[in-house]
Each structure stands twice: as structure tokens, then as C-alpha cells.
């Protein structure tokens, strides 16, 4: 106690309650030493060697010297000091005890002394109590004087061991051995942990590199890669169509997940993964034609991520296509289109039926093998392509509509109209059948006329007149202009010139399934100047009507041709030097009746022309009425004169009349001359 030593009045430095968290430490290390990625064994060894080289030698020496000095001081001086202090303490204690004893002995005798000693004892007690109150406040409080309690708060005095006595050599050795063992053990476990972490990180790095490489490859190919809107942590690739119906638009997004080995997984959620597409079948009589598989499906590297995205895109497109087809088919129930859960049945004509369904790619192949389905059909493939092109067109239209200034907000939501997918295709088929019918009819009746030796100019047809780019209008600025044509009514024009000059006819076939009036209409306009009261029938809806109208026109034409034919002059029996040019008079052109007047009123000759699709019939007979005019029962056919009949085309069996004429005109001339002979 004689030695003065400074007491630290500052509170001991507080240990940080919790050590730095691992991320903070990692950040520190990263700052100080750089990334862990670059750490490997050689670098560490090199660093250690360098450290040793720089400080090692002299520091070790210093430390050795210092330790030696301390070691030298310790055993000698410290022990001496210790003994000295212990001696002092025992001396002081003995002194105190002896004084206390003396005081106690003297207490009875000397009261004054007694009170003083009591005071000192109480002071000592207070002192001890205050000292103890740091560790056992409750206990120490009982022995404290009230004055002290007022002056000093509990636990305001503390004791500490200063300059502890040295430990014995053996225990120091033990401790150092144990601590070294612990340290080695810890180093071992740390190194093994670091090594495992390093391998794990290496693997992780590799798989991350692979993952990001694949993501970048997708991005480089032009796919839109974005953050998944619902999962903030995930990346997603957008392959769908922005303008599709919202349900299908939202399905065109799949998250790009990383497998354990770093390969990319296209996660479409709960959607089925298989490729599906719309199959078009056309049933024609007993034959069934199937559209070919959309190209692109089932290519060689089916497992590449690009291929999977493409497949997903195709599937979503096909499903949307089928969805829209069903929607449109329901609206077309009036055209006897029926829909089932997965099948649309469209009867086109009596022997033709179109079936549309959504099938898996595998089912397609299996179905192809059986039932004698035939693969290559231009119709089915054309139909399949047409509905897809029209859906793309509808998408473009949606974009256009979406980017227009929107209409004001109202409570009612505007209904989305069905797309035009089936209707244009059906309109085309319907139009095609009508055009084919008209073509065959015209060629039939023209060949009939030709067979009769009539030199009628060939009719001309201009099918799909409004689809052809006209030379005057500029080429369509965009693709939409091209497709838009197919949605308009389809129009075909047939025209022909007649035997009579300036006579002509035009038939316009117009098919429209998109807007009113629905169906196919024929617009027939006739022009025959020799028959001034002929009216064009205008719009006709039935094929029969059209056939009748054109046949009638050609009959009129034939009649007027016959009537305009100048017959060779015939010599009159009584009046030899009078020769007169005669013609057949078209008395009832609409009935095909002509009259060859004769001087003898009993011997007027009448010709009846009948024209049908396959046959021309000319009949001549003598009528006995005065002027030859009169029809039916009034015409007073002469019974004794047999009717002459001439039919074209001439049948191989031979005409019943027995006389063969190479052409109509020959017959006409022959009959005229015969009438006068």
C-alpha cells in the first residue's frame, strides 16, 4: 500500500455487445483485401511469406528479448515485492487487531476511548458495507449507517485486483497448450469451412455464368426479357402477343428460372407444356383432308431454350386462335355452324364439311396414320394459313384501335366484336363454288351454241376482280391494306359479247359474309339493242334465275341473228322476174318464234327456237292463219305439213328428221328456200 499507483476512474472500455455481423465483416474484408474470388492458396502463401520477410525477423527478436526481460524480472523481483507486500499487510493486520484488542480491553475503563473506537469501528463497517454494496447491495444495505446511505449511493465503490500474482509455471504451460490446441482445431474447422464455401461458390459462379449467358443469348435473339411483374426476384421472357385478348396476352409471359446446374428453365406455371395447334380437316364425300402441321414444330434441337420459347409462343397463338374461332363460330350459328367443346363443324355444301379442332402435336401424327386421312390438300392448308393470317391482322387492328384517342369513359363497357377469321374463308369457298358453277354453265351453253355453227365471241371472266391490284391505285402502304381486301365483299365479273353487234351481258357475282346483305348475289345486266324492251333483271339471288336470264338473252340473240340473216332471193313461181329478198320475222322473240311470210296466206311458215343449257332445238311448220301471227291454239298449225325438227348438238344416233344440217344458219336458209319451193 505504500506504493502509489493510479486508480483508473474511467469505466472499463465496454466490450461491443455483439460482434460485427458477417456481411459487415465481409464488406470490410472486400474493401481491404479485394474480392474473395481472387483468393487462392498461392496468393495467401505469398502474402504470408512477404509479411514474414518484412517484419518477421526483427519483430521476433524484439519479442524474444522482451519476453526474456520479463521472464528475468518476474521470478526474482516480483516474488520479493510480493513477500514484502504480504509482510506489510500482515503487519498492518496485526497492528489493527492488536489495537482493536487493546481498545476493547481498555473500553470498560475508558469511556472516552470507547466512543472513539466505536466510531472507528462504525466507520470501518460503513466502509466495508459500501464496498460490498457493489456486489450484494441488499445485504450490505443493512449494515450501512443512514448517513452513509444519504451521502453515497449504493455500489459506488468497487474493488479490483491490481497486479495479480503470477500463475505457476505449470498452469501457464497448460493454458498455452490448451489454447494452442483450440486454435489449431479452430483453424482446421475454419479452413475446411472456407474450402467447402469456396467449392460451393465456384459451382455457384459457374451456374450463374451459365444462367446469365443463356439469358443474354435469349435477349440477343430479340426476345423481350423483363422482371416478372408478380415475382420481384424473377426474370421473365415475354413471347406472347401484346394485342391478343387479355387472357392470352397475360399468358405470353414465362419466368426464367435457374436449375441447380445453372441451365435455364422456362416456367410457364400451371399451363400445359405440350405443343398444340389448330387442325383443319375438310371432309369431301368419303375423303378427309388434313392440314399439314404448322412448320417449326418438332425441329431437331427441340430442347434448346429458344425452341421452347418458340413452342410456347406458337401454343399460345394457336390456343388464342381456337378461342377466337369458337367465339366466331357461336356467332355464326345462323349459318348452321355447330361448336362442341373442342370441335367446330362448318357445313359448306352438301358434300363438303370443314372440321376445326385443337389437337396436341402427337395426336396429329397418330391421327394421320389412320382412317385414310390424306395429307396434302391445298384447300386445308390454305384454310389453315388464312385463319392464322387473319388473326395476325386482327392483332394489328387491335393495335391501331388501342392507339387511337380513347372514347370518354362510360359505365357500359364496349363489347369486343368477334374477329373475322372464318367468315372471309367461308365467303371465299362459297364464292368459289358460285363462280365455278357460272363458269361451267357458260361454257356449256357456249359450246352448245358453237356446236350449232354459231360464231359467238368467247365470254371473259375476271374472278376476284376486287382483289387484284388495280394499276391506277397506289400499292398498299402497309400489309394491312393487303389483308383488308379479303375482308371486303368478294366480287367476280363475267362478261361476254353476243352475236348481235353491240349486244353484251355482264354478270357480277358478289359474296359477302361480313356485313349485310349476307350471302351471294348475282348482278346481271343485259344489253341487246335489237330488243328494246329488254330489261336487265338486276340483282338475283338464285342460280336458276341467273341461268334463266342468260339463256333467255342468248335465245333473243339467236332469234335476232336469224331474223337479220338475209335469205337468198327466191324466184316466185308465178312472177318469175320479180325476185324478193326475204327474212324471217321475229314475231315473238321472247318465245323464240319467227315467221316466214308467204304470198299464200295458208302457207306461212313458222320457226320455233328453243335454247337450253345443253341443246338448241329449231322446229318449223306451216301455219294457216292469215298473217301467220298467233300463238298456241290460235296459231292454227297446218296438220298436213309435218314439222321439221333440227337439234344441236347433233346426236351421233342421228336426228329423227333424217336431215342433217351443219349449222343453224344452214337449216334456216334451207327451210326458207323450201318454204317457197
Amino acid at each position: 500500500m505504500a506504493e502509489s499507483f493510479t486508480l483508473p476512474l474511467r469505466p472499463p472500455p465496454e466490450q461491443n455487445e455483439r460482434p460485427d455481423t458477417l456481411p459487415v465483416e465481409i464488406a470490410q474484408i472486400n474493401n481491404q483485401w479485394g474480392s474473395f474470388r481472387e483468393v487462392n492458396e498461392e496468393i495467401l502463401l505469398a502474402k504470408i511469406a512477404e509479411e514474414e520477410k518484412r517484419h518477421g525477423a526483427q519483430q521476433d527478436e524484439d519479442m524474444d528479448e522482451g519476453e526474456q526481460e520479463v521472464g528475468e524480472i518476474d521470478p526474482t523481483e516480483r516474488r520479493e515485492q510480493l513477500y514484502k507486500r504480504r509482510h506489510e499487510i500482515t503487519q498492518f493486520a496485526m497492528l489493527v487487531t492488536s489495537t482493536l484488542k487493546g481498545a476493547l480491553e481498555r473500553s470498560a475503563a475508558n469511556e472516552c476511548l470507547n466512543s472513539k473506537s466505536h466510531q472507528e469501528t462504525m466507520l470501518a463497517l460503513d466502509f466495508i458495507s459500501l464496498l460490498l454494496s457493489k456486489h450484494a447491495p441488499r445485504q450490505a444495505e443493512t449494515s450501512m449507517s443512514p448517513l452513509l446511505k444519504q451521502l453515497a449511493p449504493l455500489g459506488s465503490l468497487d474493488s479490483d485486483l491490481v497486479n495479480p500474482p503470477p500463475r505457476p509455471e505449470s498452469s501457464i504451460k497448460d493454458i498455452s497448450t490448451v489454447s494452442r490446441g483450440w486454435r489449431i482445431q479452430n483453424f482446421n474447422s475454419a479452413s475446411s469451412k472456407l474450402l467447402s464455401a469456396a467449392t460451393r461458390l465456384n459451382g455457384e459462379i459457374e451456374s450463374e455464368i451459365r444462367y446469365w449467358g443463356e439469358v443474354l443469348a435469349i435477349k440477343d435473339k430479340g426476345w423481350k426479357v423483363c422482371r416478372h411483374p408478380r415475382e420481384k426476384q424473377a426474370l421473365a421472357v415475354q413471347y406472347g402477343f401484346m394485342e391478343a385478348t387479355p387472357i392470352f396476352r397475360d399468358r405470353g409471359l414465362a419466368s426464367l428460372r435457374r436449375a441447380n446446374d445453372g441451365s435455364l428453365i422456362l416456367d410457364k406455371g400451371l399451363l400445359p407444356t405440350g405443343a398444340r395447334h389448330v387442325r383443319v380437316r375438310v371432309k369431301q364425300g368419303d375423303q378427309v383432308f388434313v392440314s399439314s402441321k404448322p412448320s417449326g414444330a418438332g425441329s431437331s434441337d427441340a430442347d434448346s431454350i429458344e425452341q421452347r420459347i418458340l413452342q410456347a409462343r406458337d401454343s399460345v397463338f394457336e390456343e388464342e386462335l381456337f378461342h377466337e374461332l369458337v367465339r366466331e363460330a357461336r356467332a355464326m350459328a345462323g349459318c348452321s355452324v355447330t361448336t362442341r367443346q373442342n370441335l367446330i363443324r362448318i357445313p359448306v355444301s352438301d358434300e363438303m364439311e370443314i372440321l376445326l379442332d385443337l389437337v396436341d402435336a402427337e395426336t396429329h401424327d397418330i391421327a394421320l396414320g389412320q382412317n385414310g386421312l390424306q395429307h396434302d390438300s391445298r384447300l386445308t392448308d390454305g384454310l389453315a394459313h388464312a385463319i392464322r393470317i387473319l388473326l395476325c391482322f386482327a392483332h394489328r387492328q387491335n393495335l391501331r384501335r388501342r392507339t387511337q384517342i380513347p372514347r370518354p369513359l362510360t359505365t357500359t363497357r364496349p363489347a369486343t366484336p368477334e374477329y373475322h377469321l372464318l367468315r372471309p374463308a367461308l365467303a371465299y369457298l362459297q364464292h368459289l363454288s358460285h363462280v365455278r358453277w357460272l363458269e361451267s354453265f357458260l361454257s356449256d351453253i357456249y359450246s352448245t351454241l358453237r356446236s350449232a355453227g354459231l360464231d359467238i365471241p368467247q365470254w371473259t371472266s375476271n374472278p376476284y376482280a376486287n382483289w387484284k391490284p388495280s394499276s391506277t391505285s397506289p400499292p398498299p402502304a402497309a400489309l394491312e391494306g393487303l389483308v383488308e381486301k379479303f375482308l371486303r365483299p368478294i366480287e367476280s365479273v363475267f362478261s361476254g359479247k353476243l352475236l348481235t353487234s353491240r349486244g353484251s351481258f355482264t354478270v357480277t357475282v358478289r359474296t359477302n359474309l361480313s356485313s349485310l346483305p349476307f350471302g351471294t348475289l348475282y348482278d346481271v345486266s343485259l344489253d341487246l339493242p335489237t330488243v328494246p324492251d329488254l330489261r336487265s333483271p338486276g340483282r338475283l339471288g338464285l342460280k336458276d334465275d341467273v341461268e334463266t336470264a342468260i339463256t333467255h338473252l342468248l335465245l333473243l340473240d339467236l332469234v335476232s341473228t336469224i331474223s337479220s340473216k338475209t335469205l337468198p332471193a327466191v324466184r316466185d313461181g308465178q312472177n318469175a322476174n320479180v325476185s324478193k329478198e326475204q327474212t324471217w320475222d321475229a314475231v315473238y322473240p321472247h318465245l323464240g318464234e319467227l315467221l316466214l311470210p308467204n304470198t299464200n296466206p295458208e302457207k306461212h311458215k313458222k320457226m320455233k327456237v328453243a335454247l337450253s343449257r345443253h341443246e338448241i332445238t329449231l322446229t318449223t311448220y306451216i301455219v294457216r292463219s292469215i298473217d301467220g301471227i298467233g300463238r298456241g291454239t290460235c296459231e292454227r298449225r297446218s296438220h298436213n305439213a309435218a314439222a321439221h325438227l333440227c337439234k344441236f348438238p347433233q346426236s351421233s344416233v342421228g336426228a329423227p328428221s333424217g336431215q342433217e344440217y351443219p349449222s343453224v344458219m344452214d337449216f334456216v336458209v334451207a327451210e326458207a328456200t323450201e318454204g317457197h319451193s
Binding site: L399, T403, I405, P406, P408, L409, T410, T411
Partner: protein, 282 residues
């Protein structure tokens, strides 16, 4: 009809980036718009019947109310109104050589949009025909006061006007020409919301302010932005057919607020100061 609006100011350096962002958000190419805007002011025609002021004690209460309403309609509000005429780049007088073309850089990548055909050489000699100019009358009321929602709401109406010289017609309707300016910007459509990123251009100063709408347009390059820094205004608007229907109004404002939330990181859309949009003529 009602119009709900939010505005934001866009500094010029942010303009290009914002165009890209909006193109991404709305999935469409910006549509460049140039509009002539003529300001007309209503004037009180002399000889207009002002109606009886006061003296309605002998009338029934209801009819007095009717009369007041009619009076208010006839004489109450006098407004500035604007006539908007869309113009194109070709309508402006050509500068010395270079014809200003739309910034090709704003064509966003990823969307395959056919570019408009390049102007044919014959169009270089295109002359602005004032008599064929289409016009639209746009009336905007002062924004509604004390609306608790965080959007600007105002009554609006638009009507198509005859082509050509509009001033005589407007005069006949009781409007006098005040001034005109040009608005240049890009339009985006986002569902029901029209996003118009625009700025106001002034005609070149120096020439005398004419008393009637211009028949010729100066070169576009010579037009000076009203804001000297050339910054833009982002206006997001949505129109509602029936302003008295609380439900649609609520939906509309929710749409707008949703857009504000989406654009939060880019710009801050805010309702405008009501009095700065005052169209009343004093």
C-alpha cells in the same frame, strides 16, 4: 363531359428518356403532334337582353329560380376558349435547306412499326393551305374547387368546326380572337388515359402580332418555346362521359392515380393549381 388531369414538369434533358419510358409503358410508338391553338375570348354583345334584375317578388318561387338560372346561363360565365387545329411538319415554311424531320432516334427498338413513307420530292413544295385547315373548338371550365381527390377535375366540351377561316364564325358566336400559339409534343395512349408530353411554342417575336389567325406559318425552327429552357409538360388526362356518375369518376381518378404510381420513379404527376387553369374572362 368531365376531364380528369394530372400534370408534371419534365426538364428538357429528361425528355428523351421519358419518351422511351412512356413508349415502353404504353407499348406504342409516340405519335408526334403539332397543334395550332387560337385563343378566343367571349365578349358581351351590345343589345343583349339582360333580363330583369330583382323585381321577382310577384313570381312563384320555382319560376324565379328558373329565371335566375336562365339569366345565369345567358350572362353568367364568360370564358376564354380555344380553337385547336392540327398541322404537320410540312405545313411550316421551309427553312433555308434542311426540312425538319421527326427525331428518328425516338423510334423505339423492339416494336416493328413501318416507318411513314419519306416525303416525296413533290412534297418539298408543299404549301400550307389555311382554307383547308381543320379546327376543333375546345372549351374547358375552371377546375372544380374543393375536390378532395388528388386529381384536377373540370368540365370540358369539344366540337368540330368548319374548315378554313374560323374567325368570322367565332365572331358571330360572340368570341373575339386574342392570340395564338403552337403546341408541339407526343401523344401516347395508355388504356383510357391520353398522355400528352408537350410544350408551348411562340411565334417568332419581332413581327407584329396580327389581329387575326395567321394564314402562313413561319419555319418551325424559328418558333421559340414559351419556357426558355425548353422543358416539357406531361399531361395525363382521362375523359368521362357523365361527370355526375360518382362511380365512373372514381374509376377514372383511380386509373390516373395508378398511372402516377407507375411513373413515380420517372416523374411526379400532380394536380395543377386550380387558379392557374382559370379560363374565365374577367
Amino acid at each position: 363531359m368531365h376531364e380528369l388531369l394530372l400534370f408534371a414538369s419534365v426538364p428538357v434533358h429528361q425528355h428523351h428518356g421519358l419518351l422511351q419510358q412512356l413508349a415502353g409503358l404504353t407499348a406504342m410508338q409516340p405519335r408526334h403532334a403539332l397543334e395550332r391553338r387560337l385563343i378566343f375570348k367571349a365578349f358581351r354583345k351590345p343589345g343583349l337582353i339582360t333580363g330583369r334584375v330583382g323585381g321577382s317578388q310577384d313570381l312563384q318561387q320555382a319560376s324565379a329560380g328558373d329565371l335566375q338560372r336562365v339569366n345565369k346561363m345567358l350572362n353568367g360565365g364568360m370564358f376564354y376558349t380555344q380553337v385547336v387545329g392540327p398541322v404537320s411538319n410540312h405545313d411550316f415554311a421551309p427553312t433555308s435547306k434542311s426540312v425538319s424531320t421527326p427525331d428518328a432516334d425516338t423510334q423505339m427498338a423492339g416494336v416493328d412499326e413501318p416507318k411513314p413513307p419519306a416525303p416525296a420530292p413533290s412534297e418539298a413544295a408543299h404549301v400550307y393551305d389555311y382554307d383547308q385547315q381543320t379546327w376543333k373548338l375546345e372549351f374547358r371550365d375552371i377546375p372544380e374547387a374543393a375536390t378532395r381527390s388528388a386529381v384536377t377535375t373540370r368540365v370540358m366540351a369539344s366540337a368540330a368546326l368548319p374548315r378554313g377561316d374560323i374567325e368570322p364564325s367565332m365572331n358571330a358566336w360572340g368570341y373575339g380572337f386574342v392570340t395564338e400559339y403552337l403546341v408541339e409534343g407526343d401523344v401516347f395512349i395508355h388504356n383510357d388515359i391520353v398522355i400528352f408530353l408537350h410544350r408551348v411554342l411562340h411565334y417568332p417575336t419581332g413581327e407584329k402580332e396580327p389581329r387575326e389567325p395567321r394564314r402562313n406559318l413561319p419555319p418551325l425552327k424559328k418558333m421559340a418555346p414559351l419556357e426558355k429552357t425548353g422543358s416539357y409538360v406531361l399531361q395525363a388526362s382521362i375523359t368521362v362521359q357523365d361527370g355526375s356518375n360518382q362511380e365512373t369518376m372514381k374509376t377514372a381518378s383511380q386509373h390516373l392515380l395508378g398511372l402516377r404510381e407507375q411513373l413515380k420513379s420517372a416523374v411526379r404527376l400532380e394536380p395543377a393549381d386550380r387558379l392557374s387553369l382559370d379560363t374565365r374572362a374577367k
